[in-house]
Symmetry: none
Amino acid sequence: MAPRQTTTPEHRLITPEREQRTLDLLRQSTVVSVADLSAALQVSAATVRRDLQGLHERGLLRRVRGGATLDRSFRVEPLFQDKQSLNPEAKRAIAEAALALVDDHDHLYLDGGSTVLALARLLDRRRDLTIVTNSLMAADALMSSTHTLVLVGGEFRPLSRTMVGPLTASVIENVHVDKAFMGTIGFTLKDGMTTTSPAEAFTKECMMKRANQVILLADSSKLGVPSFARSGTVEDIDTLVTDAMPAPMRSELEALGVQIVVAFSPATDVSADDGRPAGPVRPQAGTPGR
Amino acid sequence: MAPRQTTTPEHRLITPEREQRTLDLLRQSTVVSVADLSAALQVSAATVRRDLQGLHERGLLRRVRGGATLDRSFRVEPLFQDKQSLNPEAKRAIAEAALALVDDHDHLYLDGGSTVLALARLLDRRRDLTIVTNSLMAADALMSSTHTLVLVGGEFRPLSRTMVGPLTASVIENVHVDKAFMGTIGFTLKDGMTTTSPAEAFTKECMMKRANQVILLADSSKLGVPSFARSGTVEDIDTLVTDAMPAPMRSELEALGVQIVVAFSPATDVSADDGRPAGPVRPQAGTPGR
DNA sequence: GCAAAACTGCTCGTTTCTGATCGTTTAGCG
DNA sequence: CGCTAAACGATCAGAAACGAGCAGTTTTGC
């Protein structure tokens, strides 16, 4: 075993302290290596990598092989920050579960919203994607990736930082994607997906028609809560990824042919079985006709 | 705090560090050899070549046999951060002059490029504009303004941070603007406006057809310098705003019906080479506007 | 005080990068 | 015009970095 670091009697730093100093160092020199950080923070390279991964997923730095760089593109919007801190561990777990649905070389659509944004930040674990999005936050997270990035044009809606409205249709109608990852403000069995703005709803509807597979990412705080403008029915959804779901809703959705993925954030029971085509996950899905 | 002095490279440099120092050396002497870089960065010639290849593909330098160069006769597109700090006073003066051409309630198009971006940062001095742009940087600058913002969709080009290519046409053909503020990489009497990428040129051409008035913003370093892909002729331009212009060019342009606006900048310093020995490229943190 | 949870560091298999080799191309020069 | 030497690109083995999983330790909660 390696010698314990008994030479420095100073107590170790806790995670937020390390993150702060990591960002300080990064601001000084624009680029830091894992080795530098490991020495500066007196922790192992593994811990440094975990720190960097976490900071990257929060959009605070850019990960490169051997270290990290500061990518001063544009700042994160406080509005979005607040929203994101609402349910961070649930969103993160949902994003991880959603990532499992993404294959290399896929053509994807990313909707607006912080949950989908969390997924965007994980997409550098895949290769050669083509990503269509109407979200400026997602675009920001992906602009320095190697994937092909296509932005939907249209009227900009500052609140959600997305492009919405009739003009978005002109680009959307020219593309087709394998999988559309949608966010939502509210979701109920009766109304399906609902959002605050009709223009936003229009764009969502438009896009879902152009996708082979519609995957809704919604943390449990959205379930059962309606919003104003309807953006799609339950039938439009192929897969719903969430962190927790009332059992009655689950059975009803599964009866309607919606595949449910429940992402576990803490060490919840690992129900290991999942996306096998002929698996027992589907109680009575007759014909998987959409 | 961290006394790591870069003059004695004890440990290896990671890729972005090497790239940064390569560009630093290049800015100092305009040309560097593979052997020089190999010695300076303490890596093999093969790695240097791979680095240069990557930088070349990003348009940051020109590859020549035996090394690399910043070629000034054939203008290459620099990294966006560098571009912004290239001629700041001139760009600022041009932006101020261009702002005088903008009225309240106008419908505008803002092209990519740092000069147009400088104008975007001044637009909160006007009321109720409708602003169409294909530049993510301009969108970032304007997203918290009160104006109506419309983004052009399409394939994202990281180098210029703009949307370019065929998909952009689908939005552009649905809008019409009073004034289009265009940027360019090069401008000559013979070739008109030229830029580095054909896709970028396509989008510029598309947009200029949809504008009542085309206003080109180009600092004096662009004048008389051609680039690769032609994006428009002299006849397409209604007004040219610059910081300084040779008299012969001016008279010839005016004979062709182009209105010339020369913005007075306090210090028209065209010395592009700032010899900094080694250090991070640091754009000024505080922009006075906004 | 005890159990559960979180965290750190280690190990190992995999991916990615680096440096060396070799055949080919190019620039320089007689 | 042809020769030579340097530079280049492709390829491959070794090295470094990475991610995942595991075990020991500290912290947290009851």
